[in-house]
């Protein structure tokens, strides 16, 4: 063998090594397959924190595996923010797991359009009479169902400390915005932070503020109209809603480090009684009830009515969650196993456990005896009327622009008019 041919062999060998490595990689990240008699399904979710909801969800998976020893669910728990990035990246490489947790609206639609997940219409009658059509709607794209909702999450509740409000002479959140502003001034005068806010992640002003405040002004059809080209973000009503946020920031309703705290840190200010109010989603309810000294002191209300608004002044923005979608590549035995998993995962038992851990559920199951008063109060609020959350209703690039734009409005580097115009420009360029 001369040098030349030896070299070619070596090059070919190293090439094969690399190709082989790549091949192995795809197989393992595809990750599914039947191992002997056992069907193995990979499942990604965000159940990293040891919250009661996550524990209940994980327990439901364990329960399923005990009942079905022939099916093995391999979970990968990934923290929320990283999860979303990972799913988008893996989806681009078409390497999603067999089962994947999905969010409604703007997160779900691209997965459907890319044909990465498959419909579950075949098994829907499992939940007849238990889950209403309106609850299913968030995970429905063009009449096809892709996941089952577990919980329903109002994103914009006004939590308040009853004692601190009483000290300022109020027994609840005022009904009108003008009175609400007076309350803010009164709280400031007695040395409290009126509202705690942690908007470092930029989505809180969008999810918990503009989703409800915007709806107060524009009514619930606005976003769909804008996306369809029948309305514009530059609409006076939307601009007014943004001005409300600007006004609150300017009158120093928030802790002054609100752009450097995250949404967990801002909860601490409320719990330590430095701040009298907190506008946040129902995801904070469990942690607050768990660590508050006296639950009787915790009040929950909604954002006050705005003058001249077209929306229901008592409505609250809400979204359903914890849906699990099935990879479109699954078929045969594995598909059956996956469907069986969904059917038994979303059981009455699971929903009851969620209620017990202060999570509002999408299914119509009886409120357990141990449910906290706060949860009953939130259930009351949600039963009034729910409206869409912005990030579930508009495409992701628009959501990003809303998130960062609202932060700029809050520090005064962008005017509400300019902000609205920027958003409309993005809508126009996409049409």
């Amino acid at each position: 063998m001369n040098w030349k041919s030896r070299g070619m062999v070596a090059t070919a060998a190293s090439a094969m090594l690399i190709l082989g490595a790549c091949g192995g990689d795809t197989e393992s990240s595809g990750g599914s397959g039947s191992n002997g008699d056992q069907v193995e399904l990979t499942f990604w979710n965000i159940w990293t924190e040891s919250s009661p909801q996550n524990e209940a969800s994980k327990a439901a998976v364990e329960r399923f595996m005990e009942e079905n020893p022939d099916i093995n669910i391999v979970q990968e728990n990934i923290a929320h923010d990283q999860f979303k990035v990972k799913v988008k990246t893996q989806a681009a490489g078409r390497q999603l797991p067999d089962l994947v947790q999905v969010w409604p609206g703007a997160e779900l639609t691209p997965l459907v359009e890319g044909e990465l997940i498959q419909p579950i219409d075949d098994i829907l009658d499992t939940w007849d009479g238990m889950i209403s059509e309106s609850m299913f709607a968030d995970y429905n794209v063009d009449g096809t169902q892709y996941a089952v909702p577990a919980n329903v999450t109002p994103t914009s509740l006004v939590y308040y400390n009853k004692d601190m409000l009483a000290e300022a002479g109020y027994d609840q959140i005022p009904d009108t915005y003008d009175e609400f502003k007076q309350l803010i001034e009164d709280l400031k005068a007695q040395g409290d932070i009126p509202i705690t806010l942690g908007n470092k992640g930029q989505w809180l002003l969008q999810s918990s503020y503009i989703s409800t405040i915007g709806d107060r002004m524009t009514g619930s059809d606005f976003l769909n109209d804008v996306l369809a080209g029948d309305a514009k973000f530059t609409d006076d009503r939307f601009v007014k809603a943004v001005e409300v946020i600007q006004e609150m920031a300017e009158m120093e309703a928030f802790n002054n480090d609100f752009n450097t705290l995250d949404n967990i840190q801002h909860r601490e200010l409320f719990l330590s009684k430095e701040a009298a109010m907190m506008i946040d989603g129902a995801w904070s309810l469990g942690p607050i009830v768990e660590s508050i000294e006296d639950e009787g002191n915790l009040g929950i209300g909604v954002f006050p009515a705005l003058e001249g608004g077209d929306g229901n002044p008592e409505a609250v923005s809400a979204v359903t969650g914890t849906g699990i979608a099935i990879n479109s590549e699954l078929e045969g035995e594995e598909l059956e196993a996956a469907q069986k998993f969904l059917e038994s995962f979303y059981s009455e038992e699971y929903y009851t456990e969620l209620l017990e851990s202060d999570i509002l559920v999408a299914a119509d199951v009886e409120m357990p005896e141990g449910a906290s008063d706060s949860l009953k109060r939130v259930a009351e609020i949600v039963n009034t009327e729910t409206t869409p959350v912005y990030d579930a209703a508009v495409p992701v690039d628009l959501t990003d622009a809303i998130n960062s734009g609202l932060q700029e409005v809050s520090i005064g580097t962008l005017t509400p008019e300019q902000f609205a115009k920027n958003l409309q420009d993005i809508v126009d360029s996409g049409l």
Partner: protein
């Protein structure tokens, strides 16, 4: 020489594995980025060819220019902050100082601490309500100097840069110390015989002898600060507004958060050329200076 030219194959075989890996993981992705940058693609559905529209959009995108400006600010802060400070401390520590080793270790510490921890700790120190800096200023009667360090667009970039400088001074300190130790003792002895004193020795022997090292440090500094991402991502996430947004972060957000893979690729192409240009410029300026000397 003859043997080498006759038997090229062993050399090729030797280089091939490394070259292949480099090609597959470094060169090919750059080329693929060029391809993606001409596409409109959300990562899920089919790509659509849109020519140079992404490039046009980037050039007219104020946030892109803002991030570039911030990036250059970081580069400037690093080059004019890290390098001189590191050089100063290296010269100081190179003397036979009591406890020199301890100071060396302390100086190098930030380099081995995880960036996330640095960001979180400095984030707390900069906090406007109960952070170290504001409390310190208040306690010595300088309340008017207290700022909303990370929450105010005027101060956010400066605060972030202070942290970046603190983080990397140690790295250059060690590089400079190593270079200082390589300067032959004889030169100093000769200078002493000629009657040179401390400052003269530093200016006329130490610094010229370290020129090459300083050039390397500056280039490392430039390329490192163009890549800057993690520290700012954890400290401010680009906020408030876009006041601390840098190119790498804007590219990341556009690609993986807004799922605009095409536009994200376009941004990374710009980063590629900016880095190349800047490093070339730096070598040009510094080399010319050393040739002139």
């Amino acid at each position: 020489m003859d043997t080498v030219s006759k038997n090229k194959w062993p050399i090729i075989i030797g280089v091939a594995p490394a070259l292949l890996i480099y090609l597959v993981f470094a060169i090919v992705p750059i080329l693929i980025s060029f391809y993606y940058s001409t596409m409109e693609w959300n990562g899920f559905t089919d790509m659509e060819f849109i020519g140079l529209a992404n490039f046009r959009e980037a050039l007219g995108d104020p946030i892109f220019w803002q991030s570039l400006k911030n990036n250059l600010f970081v580069v400037a802060a690093s080059v004019f902050g890290q390098v001189p400070v590191a050089l100063f401390f290296a010269l100081l520590l190179n003397r036979k100082l009591k406890g020199g080793k301890i100071f060396r270790t302390i100086g190098f510490m930030p380099v081995v601490i995880s960036t996330v921890i640095i960001s979180l700790v400095w984030g707390m120190m900069f906090n406007s309500r109960n952070g170290l800096f504001n409390q310190l200023l208040t306690s010595i009667g300088l309340e008017s100097w207290a700022q909303n360090w990370l929450g105010d667009p005027k101060w956010a970039m400066i605060s972030v840069c202070i942290t970046i400088i603190w983080q990397f001074v140690g790295l250059y300190l060690i590089i400079f110390l190593a270079a200082l130790q390589n300067i032959p003792e004889e030169l100093y002895e000769a200078a002493e015989i000629d009657g040179a004193s401390g400052l003269k020795k530093t200016l006329n022997i130490t610094l010229p002898m370290m020129k090459e090292t300083i050039i390397v440090a500056v280039i490392l500094c430039i390329s490192g600060s163009l890549r800057t991402f993690d520290l700012i991502y954890v400290m401010t996430a680009g906020g408030p507004g876009h006041s601390t947004e840098v190119l790498a972060m804007y590219m990341f957000d556009q690609t993986f958060s807004s799922t605009r893979f095409g536009y994200g690729s376009t941004l990374s192409i710009f980063i590629f050329f900016f880095s190349l240009g800047l490093v070339y410029l730096a070598t040009l300026i510094l080399r010319r200076k050393s040739v002139a000397d």
